[in-house]
């Protein structure tokens, strides 16, 4: 009986959702801001992917003879086999003679990888912990105190610790930025869950015997999306600058 009722409720919710939203993709592709933003992200991704093909040289290559050149100047470099090549440094060179144009293009890769993976990792982990902690009362106290402690440890200390345990690398960087971000996502998600769990439709779902994971996924998670997306874009930007 309860299962039949529950299916009925879910089916009704699904129907309502289907009527309200014709097609997510269609709505998105007609939105001007989404088009412009999407195009910009696409260009960044393409630049990151095609960095080796866009006339770049090794971004880490140090050349003492061509330090601090102005943008657009031609420099002559002697290769290992004695031949000389001349190229234009589009954005100049830095104090170690590295080509800034190449560093910018290759930097796009690192920035995108770090930004996107930090944002998605901290959102996924944070949303999960926040949902569970906000909904299950006895867990809340313990989990949130752990989060308070985690928040207090400075990222730089964590980074030093991680580098000495493993070694410096992209993974370590991502991990060191993700860990301090998690408590912030958790707090945000939990705050929404605290109010939503008192809503009549959640009570209704409980009373028809909806299993816990389904309540969290179907009835509570969608309410947290709006603030979490804002926080996610913020984390992505902060991670790139960090």
């Amino acid at each position: 009986m309860t299962i039949a009722l529950e299916n009925e409720v879910d089916a009704a919710a699904a129907r309502a959702a289907a009527v309200a939203r014709p097609s997510v993709w269609k709505r998105l592709s007609q939105n001007m801001s989404v088009r412009i933003g999407g195009a910009m992200v696409l260009v960044m991704v393409l630049i990151g992917l095609a960095a080796p093909l866009l006339g770049t040289i090794d971004p880490a290559r140090i050349d003492p003879t061509t330090r601090n050149r102005k943008p657009g100047v031609e420099v002559t470099v002697r290769n290992d086999d004695g031949t000389r090549t001349t190229r234009t440094v589009h954005m100049g060179t830095d104090s170690l003679g590295r080509d800034i144009y190449s560093r910018v293009l290759y930097g796009a890769r690192v920035s995108l990888i770090v930004g996107i993976s930090v944002a998605s990792l901290s959102i996924v982990i944070g949303v999960f912990i926040g949902l569970v902690s906000g909904y299950i009362r006895w867990l809340d106290g313990i989990v949130m105190r752990i989060m308070d402690g985690l928040m207090a440890i400075p990222g730089i200390l964590l980074a030093i610790g991680l580098v000495s345990l493993f070694r410096a690398g992209l993974g370590t960087v991502i991990f060191a930025i993700v860990v301090p971000e998690i408590p912030r996502v958790v707090r945000l998600v939990r705050s929404v869950v605290l109010s939503v769990r008192e809503e009549p439709y959640v009570e209704a779902a409980i009373s028809v015997g909806t299993p816990l994971p389904k309540i969290l996924w179907r009835h509570i998670l969608p309410n947290t999306i709006a603030p979490v997306i804002v926080q996610g874009t913020f984390i992505c930007g902060a991670a790139i600058l960090a």
């Binding site: 105190r145 402690g149 440890i153 730089i156 000495s164 707090r187 945000l188 109010s195 804002v230 926080q231």
Partner: protein, 313 residues
Amino acid sequence: MFAFIARRLVATIPVLLFVAIFVFMLLRLTPGDPAAVIAGDNATSDQVAAIRAKLGLDEPLHTQFFIWSGKALAGDFGESFFFKKTVAELIVQRIEPTAMLALCTLILAVSIAVPLGVLAAARQGGWVDRAIMGFSVLGFSVPVFVVGYLLIYLFAIQWGLLPVQGYRRIAEGFGDFIIRLILPSVTLAVIYIALISRITRASVIETLGEDYIRTARAKGLPGRTVLLRHALRNAAVPIITVIGIGIALLIGGVVVTESVYNIPGVGRLTVDAVLARDFPVIQVVILMFSFVYVLINLVIDIAYSFFDPRIRY
């Protein structure tokens, strides 16, 4: 409510204990020897060993921890390895600038961001909304030091309206104090205005779709009352959460802004201490952070049930 607060304050003790142990282990298990840093490049290994013995770093780990925590419980937080001051003195000196900067930034950010967010939500899709959200994207993407140097260049160097850098204590005169806080607070506020206004907009738009908003409109309440009394209040929980996280981040110190404006705050103290492996300072600073964070989060949790009485713990 009283029982809730008492329970939360008691829960602080295990948090502090675990943080203390974790930081203690992390500091001592990672490479980098403060004795070697103090002794300098030309020291012999005997000299380094002597310094290590003087600092008590030659004892076994657990002995070091018990000595340190015993003293800390008695209110003696030890002496910095590098500054010839006690840790307590050092922190007390650094707290005022950080706290004042955090306070100014917060007042500025909240008083600008929340009205902007509500306005954007009320005019969703219109040009006001687009302009506010455009500014917010800009605020997210421009690095703090760029904003800082740009403001210094314009207001201090080009127009000579405000001092370039530095910090004055309140005790030295309120005018001098506040005039030096304007640029740093504005610099820091930019990113918080961006974040808080976006969160405000997102959650107000979410509540504007609720049935009780339609009811309030239907019974003829003026638009402003509906927006502020019904929509904003119900949207408040995520907004105050983000503000709370902002307070925590600001109290934890803002290294870049403190460096740009040459403000002697907690953020630089922490980074300097970590880089120099100044164990006593790091331990106490992090313990202080965790205590403050637990308190901030307690206040925020109480604020939730004020704005949304359905929330029970």
